[in-house]
Amino acid sequence: MTAHDPLIAQAPDPALSSIIKLAVLAVGGQGGGVLTGWIEDLARQNGYAAQATSVAGVAQRTGATVYYVEMAPAAGGTPVFSLMPAAGDVDVMIAAEMMEAGRAIIRGFVTPDRTTLIASTHRALAVSEKMAPGDGIASSAEVMAAAEIAARRFIAADFDTLAIRNGSVISASLFGALAGSGALPFPREAFEAAIRSSGKGVEGSLRAFGAAFAEAQSPTSDAPETRPAKPALAVNGPARLTAAWADLQRRALALPAPVHELALPGLRKVVDFQDIAYGAEYLGRLESVLARDSVAHCYALTREAAKYIANAMAYDDVIRVADLKTRAARLTRIEGEMRLRDGNLMQLTEYMHPRAEEIAGLLPATFGARIAASPVWMARLDRWFSKGRRMRTDSLLAFVMLHAVGGLKGWRRRTLRHAQEVAHLDQWLDTALGVLPRYDLAVEMIRCRRLIKGYSDTHARGQSKFDRVLAATAQIADRPDAADWCRRLRDAALKDEEGKALDGAILTINSFA
């Protein structure tokens, strides 16, 4: 054996601390490549050696993707840089979306000893979050909380909205936040020079850059997601109606506080849907629930009833859709969303597809029921009416047609659809209130109304889920944990479209019921 070097441990090269390791975690299509290019250019123009890498390929197609840059002072030869970020070894982590910030934390790229985390708090929802028939949106609050612990410094703001407000895209605002964070040893002017030398959309980029720079230096608020206070709602109309409304409103406000918080918007919804008399009916229903409620439970039952009775009474029929589509406020809203400027015009096409059921639903209850029961007639109605209709509501003919249908409120109470909805509502309320004094169970059964939503097939599916949840609950209504099971069944029903989760939950119930 040859004599070995005395291999003993030595302190690491102090120059190593001069390497800055920066990663960008983005959703494909967010311009991560542009941002990386600016950062590289910035470093090189300021006497640094820099290296960037990415894994492009399928990344541009909406998938999560990582860009990675390393830089160190160029003096003294070319440093050896790594081609990928390593857990626990990242100085600056830029997450171009909130869940990507979470992913960076999971992957260990954010550590309390060194990482400055710059994250945009906006959400680009993943398909799995959007698909759920209920609310499948992941919790940003959990990621925020974890980031506070994981990062040495945490800079968070909605850099997407900020960029759009300034006529640019998120790469520019994130670059501004990076400059504002002071995590890189370069002055603001050097960052701006990098944007200018790229030569594309310079003005917008610089505006977004400036706004984000300021935001990173002095955050406008601790909680970036707080909403502006809700403006009060004004009511307009003929004096006779506003006076009647004032009476109704007084009657609603007389309900216990936890109830009227929801009863007031509920009342507004049903009156907007139909008329003052319908509103009075709503309050009547509510008061009869209240009569069986008690302060001991903080009126939870009536509170939930206030919400779901309003939703049930303001069902989605053809008249409501036509009415909503032809209101002036809607047009104003769309013009705002489409950013209509002076001199622009807007063409509006509605995508409608009425079926025989909708037509039959508009007929008088008894006659409509006969038609609905006749397959021949339903087939005939389908032949006449059921097809995709593109209605140009900026044109007079289509608008007038829809406007006329939207004015059929006076007719509504006589229709088949109304009769069906009222019957269903009464049955649901009777069933739910019938389980009293099992108070928690009654509350959960009221809440099951959430399952009924959508139109046509979707509506039918919701209805069937609703029926199955109530039926399964009835099976175990005598168990002490029945309320809990009812809630579980409802959550399962909202998990997937086909109701697989619900099937599973019902099987479980069948096994012990």
Partner: protein, 715 residues
């Protein structure tokens, strides 16, 4: 073609002697080819080497000046076969494709080429797509070098090393009469850096000149008995010549202190990762000077036994750092040590994970483990016995959703799969196979369509077993790229010949969209150097397929569904083929958005469509999303205490393709969707009519609101 321009990149290719190139690795390789007097270049696009093909396609003028022939080959097999020009002629040729899939396709040609041997340098540049972000099955191209015996370069991932490997590769190929494969990993292809350029060189013999004096030599033909002689030639002459060249020219590198009890043997591509781990352990400085000896294999096949044994001399333990499996290099080196009867202990996959990418953490952990055992004195106390007190970071793995790639906003493939999903609602689940390309994203939620992919151009072939028909017909999906790659013969020829009673859907996006918009035979654009505008339907008719339906606007979901239904139910025998055509929206937008902006600026009339959702009408069931998955169709939480679930909402990235409206109509979902078409710079007549309409509509609206109660936010 997608009509993107690579003119800026082409300028890089013109840099001369002593200038500095700064940019991506794959572009540096392109430049190096020209510096080394390449006579012809070809290949097939795919990440991460598409850029090489794109830039050369735009550099026709420069290539013309240099006398270099460029072919956009039909597939990787065609590309590899093109290297035949270097068999008899002393012309340098290079082809490029994606590994390992490209090597799979090209393997027949590569094997024959390797048997024949080459006179001119033949270089195969393979973009190895392994590890994070990879879009293909995980395999190593390495095995192909071993089986056909061509040489494999795996240079250190920096621009000077990569470009030197191009030059070394040509020379090694010529010195040993063997083709050489230059492997660049995906991050090396996209790594940025600089290198000093040289002047471009004309080939000493151009392919055009070669045609004036054709050559042949039957000793080079792969036929017995010459093929037996080729095999012997490989072992007796070409291999030793390669070993000599590798040693004499120092292609492999040794770094670090000459005598130490341990040493690391690594693939060149692993170098930066190894140095980073050593830096973190305090064993290498900023510039990569390592205290641990490194034997860097810039040539990973063949492995030079003598050089390796010299490196091992006096060492107690050696660690082989080889990414991927099987561990070919480790096995070979073990054999060398065993045959030499040395006591050196060889470590490798007993420490490193057998499968998967060598990430920073894997590298650090494995090197630490090795050094702890083999040379504990080297490690500082902190690494020998880490005593970290880190705060507990909450586990987010249940919170953060996965985000696989999917169809882009406005993708014309989305409505095809929405239609397929609707058909399956009528028929029940169908047997569906897929090909390679964007359409494979349909396998993911929300569509979950298709259960297999057997390779490029093989979608319908993968359904061949079901070609006899049954209770319902099998459906296969293939893209236009796959169709022309080899789908016409392997899939459709197969279907036609076997009178297959099944359905194939060809997704035609006007060019090879997934790889960046390169032209194929059926591209709709004119191309000065390529024959485009050859309809797929014509090719199908040419091979005797008669039931062909063309859908020229895939966004018409109802129509798409009806055509699919017809294909599944028609009584006609033989293959049922649907050609569904609409342009790739990603590339289309890149081209047309700036044009529209310019037109608006110039005062011309432009309509910009976008979709929207009426939030009062949407009930928050999200059925539309389950038939779409479009990135611009998202959810929004309403500020309404009466509503539980978020409602659908379309953001400003919408390109107005119409899919959501069409789906809502075809699936009879709901009336929430509307299309708002903003008319920029309308004409005076149009303006007058609109004003009149607005007046009448406004009168109707105010008349109604005067008679009822309205609730609105106080201003």
């Amino acid at each position: 073609m997608a009509e993107r321009s690579f003119k800026a990149e082409v300028e890089h290719l013109r840099l001369g002697e002593g200038e500095t190139f700064t940019g991506e690795g794959i572009l540096a390789i392109t430049k190096a080819l020209l510096e080394n007097g390449v006579g012809y270049v070809g290949g097939y696009q795919g990440a991460p080497i598409s850029h090489l093909m794109d830039v050369l396609a735009d550099a026709q003028e420069l290539l013309g000046e240099l006398g270099v022939r460029f072919e956009a080959n039909a597939n990787e097999a065609a590309a590899a076969a093109m290297l035949a020009a270097s068999v008899h002629y002393p012309i340098r040729g290079a082809v490029t494709f994606k590994g390992s899939v490209g090597v799979n396709v090209a393997s027949d040609a590569l094997a024959n080429l390797s048997s024949s041997g080459v006179t001119g340098g033949a270089l195969v540049i393979v973009g190895e797509d392994y590890g994070e972000g990879s879009s293909i099955m995980q395999e190593r191209s390495h095995a192909f070098a071993m089986k056909s015996q061509f040489w494999l370069l795996d240079p250190r991932p920096n621009l000077p090393s990569i470009t030197k490997a191009v030059s070394d590769g040509f020379e090694l190929s010529e010195a040993s009469n063997t083709p050489v494969m230059l492997m660049v990993r995906i991050r090396s292809c996209h790594v940025t850096g600089s290198f000093r350029t040289r002047d471009n060189r004309r080939p000493t013999l151009s392919v055009r000149d070669a045609l004036s004096a054709p050559r042949s030599d039957f000793a080079r033909v792969v036929l017995p008995p010459m093929s037996y002689a080729h095999e012997q030639d490989k072992i007796r002459n070409r291999w030793p010549a390669a070993e000599r060249f590798i040693r004499e020219r120092g292609l492999n590198e040794v770094f670090g202190s000459a005598s130490a009890p341990v040493g690391l043997v690594l693939q060149g591509g692993m170098y930066n990762g190894v140095i980073r781990a050593l830096q973190r352990l305090g064993l290498a400085d900023l510039h990569g000077n390592s205290r641990v000896p490194l034997y860097v294999l810039n040539v990973t096949y063949p492995l030079v036994s003598s050089e390796f044994l010299e490196f091992c001399e006096g060492k107690e333990q050696i660690l082989v750092i080889e990414e991927g499996q099987p561990e070919f290099i480790e096995q070979q080196l073990s054999t060398y040590l065993y045959r030499a009867g040395t006591p050196v202990r060889l470590r490798g996959k007993d420490i490193f994970p057998m499968a998967g990418e060598y990430t920073g953490q894997v590298m650090l952990d494995s090197l630490t483990t090795f050094l702890k055992q083999a040379a504990p004195g080297l490690l500082a106390a902190v690494h020998r016995a880490p005593n970290e007190d880190r705060p507990q970071i909450p586990d987010l793995s249940k919170t953060v959703p996965i985000r696989p790639p999917g169809f882009c906003t406005g993708c014309p493939e989305r409505p095809i799969f929405a239609a397929m999903k609707l058909v399956q609602k009528e028929t029940g689940k169908l047997q569906i196979s897929a090909d390679i390309g964007c359409h494979l994203f349909a396998a993911l939620p929300p569509f979950e369509i298709g259960g297999a992919t057997m390779g490029y151009g093989l979608g319908p072939a993968a359904n061949a077993a079901f070609g006899g028909g049954g209770a319902s017909r099998a459906i296969s999906v293939i893209g236009d790229g796959g169709f022309w790659h080899n789908g016409l013969s392997s899939s459709f020829g197969n279907m036609a010949f076997n009178k297959s009673d099944s359905v194939a859907v060809i997704v035609d996006n006007y060019y090879s969209a997934a790889t960046g918009g390169q032209d194929v035979m059926s591209s709709r654009a004119d191309n000065a150097t390529k024959a485009t505008r050859n309809p797929i339907s014509k090719a199908l008719k040419g091979i005797g397929i008669t039931w062909v339906r063309e859908v020229n606007r895939t966004y018409d979901v109802g129509h798409m569904r009806d055509v699919l239904r017809e294909a599944l139910t028609t009584g006609k025998p033989g293959p049922k083929v649907i050609v569904a055509s609409s342009e790739c929206m990603l590339n289309k937008q890149r081209r047309e958005k700036p044009l529209a902006a310019q037109a608006i600026k110039e005062g011309r009339r432009v309509e910009t469509p976008r979709f929207g959702v009426d939030e009062d009408i949407c009930t928050g069931d999200h059925a539309c999303i389950r038939l779409s998955g479009c990135p611009s169709l998202s959810l929004k939480r309403l500020d309404d205490p009466l509503r539980d679930d978020p409602v659908a909402s379309i953001d400003q990235s919408c390109v107005g393709c119409g899919n959501c409206g069409e789906v809502a109509d075809a699936a009879i979902l709901c009336p929430s969707f509307y299309e708002a078409r903003v008319v920029h710079n309308p004409g005076p007549w149009e303006r007058r009519i609109a004003a009149l309409r607005a007046r009448i509509i406004g009168w109707l609206q105010s008349r109604r609101s005067a008679r009822r109660l309205t609730f609105e936010a106080a201003r």
